[in-house]
Subunit: 323 residues, 2 copies
Amino acid sequence: MLRTRFCELLGIEHPIVSAPMGGTANGELAAAVSEAGGLGMIGGTSPGGPEWLRAQIRVARERTTRPFGVGFITSFPDTGELVRVALEERVTVVAHSFADAAPYVGASHEAGARVVVQVQTVEQAVRAVRAGADAVVAQGSEAGGHTGYAGTLSLLAAVLDAVAGTPVLAAGGIADGRGLAAVLVLGADGAWMGTRFVASREWAGGNWAKQRLVEAGTDDTVQTHAYDQTMESPFPAGIGDRVLRNDFTAAWDGRDDEIVRRRGELQAQVLAAVKAGDPRVAPVRAGAAVGLIRAVEPAGDVVRRVVAEAEQVLRARPSQVLR
Amino acid sequence: MLRTRFCELLGIEHPIVSAPMGGTANGELAAAVSEAGGLGMIGGTSPGGPEWLRAQIRVARERTTRPFGVGFITSFPDTGELVRVALEERVTVVAHSFADAAPYVGASHEAGARVVVQVQTVEQAVRAVRAGADAVVAQGSEAGGHTGYAGTLSLLAAVLDAVAGTPVLAAGGIADGRGLAAVLVLGADGAWMGTRFVASREWAGGNWAKQRLVEAGTDDTVQTHAYDQTMESPFPAGIGDRVLRNDFTAAWDGRDDEIVRRRGELQAQVLAAVKAGDPRVAPVRAGAAVGLIRAVEPAGDVVRRVVAEAEQVLRARPSQVLR
């Protein structure tokens, strides 16, 4: 068994968290991950708003008695209202990313929830811990969807040094047991994985997107602002969006000014492609670890296999290289 | 002691390589790294051309009887001539990066040299091994100076899968024993470190640049084309340049078209700043692991400490997380 400070903090079995992907990390996915011994997270920032979130928390609660959580894109304007729903529903963990979490920490602690803050810089990690975060996620640029520009390996090491004493999870570039073992050896208290759980039976997005993930390799992702500019998504400066390369990114990556001028037309194109399930134009958010994913599987199987692989690597590999 | 396939291949003690930073990784640095048991590399692509390279190889040979090598920016036009010098001087390893190494593999093998190819994508790794590379370096976007856009963690795992059987080193984001231990656990055969050896007594660049490295943190680097556009450096598409943020990157990053229009003036500014040792305008190339570097030290001490730390981590950490 793997045990870290993060496991102790939350009373979970395995140091694996499914990332709270907005609107697609639903209650079913979170429950499957938690039932398997990890920490499942619902993506609380979604077009469905507070009603969707409340419904998903209730779905998860029906399916598991184990701890699970809700995560937010804190830069979005409805965060306050959504956090209130999560706290009313008494989730175990509330997670924040992409904006200062400080305004939300006190109420979460009062409601008995643990606060996890995902960061993309060392400075943000220090601020999060000062604000009372119980754990920090160092999210590297390898991550799928929205993330910063610092690679996981060096960001993780620097964050561990900067917030010594606070559990730190690694996010970005991890999709198997080797990756989990590597970040644990570096000092992390667990792995926060998104893309690996997109390619799960429970993930609530389109099957066409899951299929593209299975086909894609590590060379096939790009960090772009093309979709955020098109859809006017309120992410802060310093945050890009890692997606699979497609016709849309080939045409529009790096042409932000022109996107602004043709926004109406491009928004219509993207929305139509999402509706039609057309990955040539619709965004398929994927981390650079996408090349390590070979099948869509039940999320619980993913948790169990990644943990078993990591244990095996941690038992076998040191003696292969130490003489 | 740490032993990997890369150590066996070259008859070296420690799985640590100092990166062949063009013109500044000189014979003294390479010899110090090799004498400490690693593999020292001379940066063969430099303004000094073949004469400088030959002189540096001879300096290294005077200082060590152990294996060392020379690495090239293979996209630069003088590569053929420089490789001939390295082979005439009978170096142990010839390394290539940023262009197809295939044209150089045969002659190097005939001269008894091993060929190491640094890659920034999985496809390049597969091509390098097909062309006869003896080892591959998976260089992630965390690396200092010129590198690609894939993070080390996921690139390394995907390259290991793609070229199973060939030793793979990890580059980018590694500056201490934790990082070396982590990539070894992931499956790497060693670490290729640049920035950590820039902050060495032997590195031949300016002390002002070393000092900036010691001061800088992990949040302080940026991947840019501003200097390459200004200096008309022949790096291929898909390769950026990681430097410390400064006044020049603040003014010019992302404004490539305008740089082209004002190139004469900007070149003069940059050259003057390099001459004056002014890091506000001159490039200070640094990887994202810069935040882990706290002092300028003898390169041999760096090798010995990183290895000792990695051994300690590999002995202690698995039993901390396995129950």
